[in-house]
Structure formats: structure tokens, C-alpha cells
């Protein structure tokens, strides 16, 4: 009787000890879920679906994209962070994760995840109407200084990443950011449309987003907030070249898993992500869409998350966007 019980206890304990090891060796043995915090059809969704198709090839099990939307990305990020850390739920985390907790919308931040790899960064750029008098970033900054409150800017919702990018640029140029009233918009596209329609004067956003209207001759890009010019529009100067400010800002996307992922699974997934990122298909996809290809492995990605978080927090406090 006692021996039977003992036997059972030992058996259960052994299972507990061995099960994860077994599971890690043959990971994955069932489909993996890739959570996207944004809606089907958007840019992040497109990247996720491409990535899923490539991860599937390497992992040998289906990788299903699941869109969990709502609350400026809160719902999706929360779903990834609170999933069991077994590698079967991973997700695409985006810039918003270092911002939304400063607004008091969630308790999760960059450190709530096991970073697997940063895959893309799209630098912010400053766009104006093609027929506007501002030929360079300095023209625009001088006009803002001369007429505080007159020029209106847009690009995303209030407190969104493009909003912060522009405010950072102004602050760096020693201009009070609040002298450029922010007009909230549902998307960067909507803001660009309003720019062309003459409703606003400045749009902060990425080159891929502004590309069709720049190519159609309706919009002019003045400067890009990056260390080097973009591949799409190499003639557009960096902020440094245009005005001397060293301000760099942009949006990014990365693959992450819940915190506490076993090391072996972390390595397996990080390698698979890197392999997918390296593939010709992924590169062709990203380049055709004009998305910037950047890679940071788990360690660098974690450092990047911590640094972005501090920067975003400081900027949001300074401009009254944090709560």
C-alpha cells in the first residue's frame, strides 16, 4: 500500500521533472500561436503572416497568426505576456509596449517578455505638402519659431509614436513642442490625406507610409530621423545633416514570448526567427513594402527595449502625455 503510494509519488515527480525536458527536446510538437496586437490587414499583420509562413517551414508545425486587437495594442501585448511560457504562444510586439504603460493603460512593459529578435525598424520622417514654402527642415523649424501655434501637425493618435517622434525633434531643436498643436488621426494615411487636402501642415510618419503620395508629387519629405538616409528616398537628408540635431526615432517590431521561457526553447525560437529573417523571401517582402530590415538578437533586443522605455517615459513626462 505504502509502496504503491510511494511509487506513484515518485512516478509523478519524475514526470514533472522529465516532462519539460522531453517537451523541450521535441519542441514544437503541436501548432504554435503567433499573436498580433493589431488588426488583420495592417502592416504589422502583413509582417506577421509572412513571418509565420517562414517559421512554419523551419519549426515543422503550423504557426497560426491570431489577431488580438483593442486598447491601442494593450489587449494583444497582454495576451502574449500572460500566456504560459512554453513556446507555444509567441507574438509580434511593437513600439507601443514601451509607451502604453507610461499612459497608465497597462502594467506590462518591455521587461514582461522574453525577447527573441527585433526584426524591423521604420524611422520617422517629417513630411509637408509639395506646394508648401518649406524646402528644408530649417525652413520649417524657423516658421514654427516665428508663428507659435499656427502650424498644425498630425500622423497618429494623441500620444502615439509618431507624435513622440516629432515632439522629440522639436525639443531637441529647443522649440517648445506645445507650439505645434497635434491633430489626432486614426492612421498615418488619414493624416497624409488631410495634409494634401490642406487641413494640416506637417505629418510625422515613416517613408513607406508616405511613399505613394511622395511618388505622386503631392508630398515632400524634409528629413528622416535616422543615422542614415532611407533606401526608399536616399535624397531625403537625415535630421543631423538637415539641422544638426542628433535626434533618432522610429517604430519597430519584434518577436517575443512570455517571460520565463525555458532557455532551450528560447534558443530554438530565436534561431528560427533569425533564419526566417535571413531568408530571401522575407527580405524581398520587406523591401518591396519599404519596411526597414534591422536585426537585434535576444540580448541586444532586451537592451534596446530598456533604453526605448526610458526615452519614451522621459519624453512623455516632459510633454504632458504621460499620466
Amino acid at each position: 500500500m505504502i509502496r504503491g503510494l510511494l511509487f506513484r509519488v515518485v512516478a509523478v515527480l519524475m514526470c514533472l521533472v522529465c516532462a519539460p525536458a522531453v517537451a523541450q527536446n521535441d519542441f514544437p510538437n503541436r501548432p504554435v500561436k503567433l499573436v498580433v496586437p493589431w488588426g488583420a490587414g495592417g502592416g504589422t499583420d502583413a509582417v506577421a503572416r509572412m513571418l509565420a509562413a517562414l517559421l512554419e517551414k523551419d519549426l515543422g508545425k503550423p504557426v497560426n497568426v491570431v489577431n488580438v486587437t483593442g486598447g491601442s495594442g494593450v489587449m494583444g501585448h497582454q495576451t502574449i505576456a500572460t500566456a504560459p511560457p512554453d513556446g507555444y504562444t509567441i507574438g509580434l510586439i511593437t513600439t507601443e509596449i514601451v509607451m502604453i504603460h507610461h499612459q497608465g493603460l497597462t502594467k506590462f512593459n518591455g521587461s514582461s517578455f522574453t525577447p527573441l529578435g527585433l526584426i524591423n525598424v521604420d524611422p520617422a520622417a517629417v513630411q509637408v505638402r509639395a506646394d508648401s514654402p518649406y524646402k528644408s527642415l530649417n525652413d520649417l523649424l524657423a516658421a514654427i519659431k516665428a508663428n507659435p501655434g499656427k502650424l498644425k501637425a498630425s500622423g497618429t493618435a494623441r500620444g502615439g509614436s509618431w507624435h513622440l517622434s516629432l515632439y522629440g525633434l522639436l525639443k531637441d531643436a529647443r522649440i517648445d513642442p506645445t507650439t505645434v498643436p497635434w491633430v489626432p488621426s486614426v492612421s498615418n494615411n488619414a493624416a497624409l490625406l488631410d495634409l494634401v487636402a490642406g487641413g494640416i501642415d506637417i505629418v510625422s510618419g515613416s517613408h513607406p507610409e508616405a511613399r505613394p503620395l511622395i511618388e505622386a508629387g503631392k508630398v515632400r519629405s524634409l528629413a528622416i530621423m535616422d543615422a542614415q538616409p532611407s533606401k526608399l528616398f536616399p535624397a531625403v537628408p537625415t535630421v543631423k545633416a538637415a539641422s544638426g540635431s542628433g535626434w533618432i526615432s522610429g517604430v519597430w517590431r519584434g518577436v517575443a514570448a512570455p517571460k520565463g521561457l525555458p532557455k532551450a526553447i528560447e534558443e530554438r525560437l530565436a534561431t528560427a526567427t533569425r533564419k526566417a529573417w535571413d531568408s530571401a523571401e522575407f527580405r524581398q517582402f520587406m523591401e518591396s513594402r519599404g519596411f526597414g530590415l534591422n536585426w537585434k538578437g535576444p540580448k541586444e533586443f532586451a537592451e534596446f527595449l530598456a533604453k526605448s522605455d526610458t526615452e519614451a517615459g522621459a519624453l512623455m513626462k516632459a510633454t504632458g502625455l504621460a499620466r
Partner: protein, 497 residues
């Protein structure tokens, strides 16, 4: 001309035709399942299209969307589960016709006039895309504000229960639209600290709840369940359509033109187009009293508008790479992927590709006739299922659909809550459709109003300064005061006589 010949060669290739047929069947299937949307169908296709040449890739998306949008109307007509806010404009009318035993007539009309609307919209897209897109680019928040107001006004005018009851429903919808943090200040409003509510009340569960679940509740509580007029036999859906075309040519043309024009505006879309069309149809009809009782006229005009608006949405998408709706947003991504960069140059570089896409547009509309016939034939079987079996099944489908939108159990609760609300409203003769319109357009109304005020530094005059805004404002005020002015005029004439 050479490019056109090449384009025909590109499309009439066995592989491309097979892709079109396959995508058509896929779209039909996804659209016919309540809760699954055309946007979802398109997003699922993107990784597949990556491995195709440009023409079949775009063809797959164009065909799948057209089919999904149409087949989304079938559960709307047969079971009162509208697939999109646009079809909510005429879902009640179509369902009323089904209950009168005219399911084949209304489904056939939905199919035939969707195709006609689509063909007219596509023709306009081919002929006038660049110039129409230029006009669309003149719309700023001031213009959209008035357009939204115009759309909301229409909802009141067409309400079956009278203008006052329609107005109450609309206000309820506008209140629902205030939930969430998708407002200009990005401040969480009425969210009760539920993260699920920060994005606002999810539209599809609300739509399904108000229409379908309320109908189920009504069926359950009715002591003697209303017996649906027995469908003696389900005749040919195409019978009688020729007569309808001859009877309502103006309605068809009006709906198609308005649909294309409104669809071409990136900030508006098929929903506003369908509502305004339905309202115009009722206002100008010789028999406005029949509207709401199962009368096909409004279904024809707003059905044509709905589908032509989808073609219209491609105008800014192709010319300026600006999506008119979530579907064209996905399609633009695929165009870039295939090196068919949207922009004025799309008509100059590789013109054979864009001609091929246009041919696919026409082909997809025509393919809708046989595939739609097939879908209706299959779907009509639900009418044979006894209602006490059918109703629980519909509830099950509604729950799956509500869950699938965000993968959230919360949305099932939203659906059930709105089912109760819808049942309560209709039991007291308040129409539910204006609630949906208010909830959809409430955000746009608020965003465009606040944005305009920020831009104008709080000056009211700016709402009338721009020529298009001024024109739309005049139209709105005229519509508001028309009944009053008419009455005054009649009284003055009566006094004189």
C-alpha cells in the same frame, strides 16, 4: 492597344482562371459564415498570393472580396444576420421579404443589382479614376464632418418607426460610440477599467446581437411563434429580375453613381453610401409607405450602392495608394509586393498589368452570377429547417462569429447584451438599424469635429469656408429644414387660397 491585348492574354490563362475560380469559392464560403468578414478573407489570402505572379495574386484578392461581400448578404436576408454595417441598411427589408415568402426574389435582386452596381462602379474606375481621385484629395475633416452628419440625418428619415423613434435609436448608437479611448484625447471613456472596452464596443458582435440574437429572443418568448410563410418551392432566383431592371432603372443608376462617388472618398465608404442611397430611394419613391414592409425598391438601390462603393474604394487606392477601406489597405500591400506600385505611374509603367486587373474586376463581377446562384441554392436549405432547430443553431453561429473577431469571450457577452437591447427596443417599436449607424459614424463625427476645431483654432466659420464643406453644409441644413419649410409654404398657400 498592344497592352490591352497582352492584358487579355495575361488574364485568360488557365492558371489565372483557376485562381479566380478558387478565390471566388473561398470568398463565397468565408462571407457566408456569419461573423467572418471579407477583410478576414483577404488577410488570409495574402501569404498565399506571395507565391503567385502579379496578375493572379491581385485577381485572387479582387475576386475573393467581391464574393465575400455578396455572400455576406445571404445570412442577412435569410436569418437576419447582416455581415457588414453597410448591409445593415437593408437587412430588415430583406428579412421582411423572406418572411413574406419572397426569399428568392430578394436574394436574386441582391445578386443581380450587386453585379450591375459593381459593373457600373468598375466602368467609372477604369474611365475616370485619376480625375475622381483628385477630387477625393480635396476632402479634409471639415468636409467629412458634414458628410457624416448627412449620413446620420438619413438614418432618421428612413426609420420605419417614425422620425422621433429613429432619432432616439440613433442617439443611443452615438452614446455607444463614446465608449473606449479611440477618441481625440486618447482618454479611456466609459471603459470601467475593462481593457476589452478600451478599443470601444466591437462592431460585429454588436451588429449580430442587435439583429440576429434579438430575433432569437423574440422567437423564444413569443407564445405562438410567428410561422414563417411556408416557402412552397424555391423558384429560380433570376425569375422576375428582368422586370425589376425595367421597373427601377433610375434607382439602379442613382445607387451605383452615388456608391462610386462616396466609396471613392477614403474617409467614407460603403456603409454611408448604402444608408444615403436607401434614404434617397425612399424619399424619391412613388410608394414610400411600402418601405420597411418587405419592398424590393430600397434593396435594389442600396444594394447597387453598396457594391459600387467597393469599386469606388479602389480609385484612391490605385491612383494615390490611399486605402478607402480595410480591404484595399491589404490589397495595396499586395500591389507593392508585386512591384505594381500604386500611384499615377501605375497607368504608365506596365500598363498591361493594370489593364489585366481591370479585366479581372469585370470578370469577378460576372463570375458572381453563377457562384452566387450556387451559394443561394445551397443556403436556402436553411429555410427548410424547422425554426426550433434553426434558432439554436443560429445562436451557436453568432457566438462563434462574435468570438472569432478578437478571439475574446468578452465579445460573446457584448453580443448577448446587445441581443437583449435589440429585443427590448423592437418590442417597443424602436428601429435597431440607426443604433448601428450611430455607433459606426459616432467616432467619425467626433474625430472630424474635434480635429476641425483644433485646426481652426476654435473658429466656427472654418466649417463653411471651404467650397465643398460649404456645399455639404447647405445640403444638410436644407434637409433638416425642408419639412418645416414645406409645411410653412403649404400653409401660406392655403391661407392665400
Amino acid at each position: 492597344m498592344d497592352a490591352l491585348t497582352t492584358a487579355f492574354g495575361l488574364v485568360f490563362d488557365p492558371y489565372v482562371l483557376a485562381v479566380i475560380l478558387g478565390a471566388g469559392l473561398f470568398g463565397l464560403f468565408v462571407g457566408a459564415i456569419p461573423g467572418l468578414t471579407a477583410t478576414m478573407a483577404t488577410a488570409l489570402l495574402v501569404p498565399v498570393t506571395f507565391f503567385m505572379p502579379p496578375v493572379p495574386a491581385v485577381a485572387a484578392i479582387v475576386t475573393a472580396t467581391a464574393m465575400a461581400i455578396f455572400s455576406g448578404d445571404i445570412p442577412g436576408a435569410l436569418m437576419r444576420i447582416p455581415g457588414t454595417p453597410a448591409s445593415a441598411a437593408y437587412a430588415d427589408e430583406a428579412y421582411a421579404m423572406t418572411r413574406k415568402g419572397q426569399a428568392e426574389l430578394v436574394l436574386g435582386a441582391g445578386l443581380v443589382f450587386s453585379v450591375i452596381g459593381g459593373l457600373i462602379g468598375t466602368t467609372i474606375l477604369v474611365i475616370a479614376a485619376p480625375s475622381l481621385a483628385e477630387i477625393a484629395l480635396k476632402f479634409s475633416s471639415f468636409e467629412y464632418f458634414w458628410l457624416v452628419l448627412l449620413g446620420l440625418t438619413c438614418a432618421i428619415f428612413i426609420s420605419a418607426g417614425g422620425a422621433l423613434r429613429g432619432f432616439v435609436s440613433l442617439l443611443l448608437g452615438l452614446v455607444i460610440a463614446t465608449v473606449g479611448m479611440e477618441n481625440p484625447a486618447a482618454f479611456p471613456r466609459f471603459t470601467f477599467d475593462r481593457p476589452e472596452l478600451t478599443g470601444g464596443v466591437t462592431l460585429i458582435p454588436m451588429l449580430v446581437g442587435l439583429f440576429a440574437v434579438s430575433e432569437i429572443f423574440r422567437f423564444v418568448v413569443a407564445e405562438a411563434p410567428p410561422i414563417m410563410v411556408a416557402q412552397e418551392r424555391f423558384g429560380s432566383i433570376f425569375r422576375g429580375q428582368g422586370k425589376l431592371i425595367r421597373q427601377y432603372p433610375m434607382q439602379t443608376l442613382r445607387g451605383s453613381l452615388l456608391g462610386t462617388a462616396v466609396g471613392a472618398l477614403p474617409g467614407a465608404g460603403a456603409d454611408i453610401a448604402a444608408w444615403i442611397s436607401y434614404a434617397i430611394s425612399k424619399k424619391l419613391s412613388k410608394t414610400p409607405e411600402k418601405f420597411g414592409t418587405g419592398h424590393v425598391e430600397g434593396v435594389i438601390e442600396s444594394g447597387a450602392a453598396n457594391n459600387s462603393a467597393l469599386s469606388g474604394a479602389w480609385i484612391p487606392a490605385l491612383v494615390f495608394g490611399i486605402p478607402g477601406d480595410s480591404i484595399t489597405a491589404i490589397a495595396i500591400g499586395v500591389l507593392y509586393l508585386k512591384n505594381m506600385n500604386p500611384g499615377p505611374t501605375i497607368f504608365l509603367e506596365n500598363p498591361q498589368n493594370i489593364y489585366a486587373v481591370f479585366i479581372v474586376f469585370f470578370l469577378a463581377q460576372l463570375l458572381m452570377l453563377p457562384l452566387g446562384w450556387f451559394a443561394i441554392k445551397t443556403y436556402k436549405q436553411v429555410l427548410k429547417v424547422p425554426r426550433n432547430v434553426l434558432m439554436p443553431l443560429i445562436l451557436l453561429f453568432c457566438m462563434v462569429g462574435a468570438f472569432a473577431i478578437n478571439n475574446s469571450v468578452f465579445d460573446i457577452g457584448v453580443m448577448l447584451a446587445f441581443g437583449l437591447l435589440g429585443w427590448f427596443l423592437e418590442a417597443n417599436r424602436f428601429p435597431v438599424a440607426p443604433v448601428i449607424l450611430g455607433a459606426v459614424l459616432g467616432h467619425m463625427l467626433e474625430d472630424n469635429f474635434i480635429n476641425s476645431m483644433i485646426k481652426a483654432d476654435g473658429q466656427w466659420g472654418a466649417f463653411f469656408d471651404r467650397p465643398i464643406a460649404g456645399g455639404l453644409a447647405a445640403a444638410t441644413f436644407l434637409l433638416w429644414t425642408a419639412p418645416l419649410l414645406l409645411r410653412l409654404w403649404r400653409r401660406a398657400r392655403g391661407a392665400a387660397a
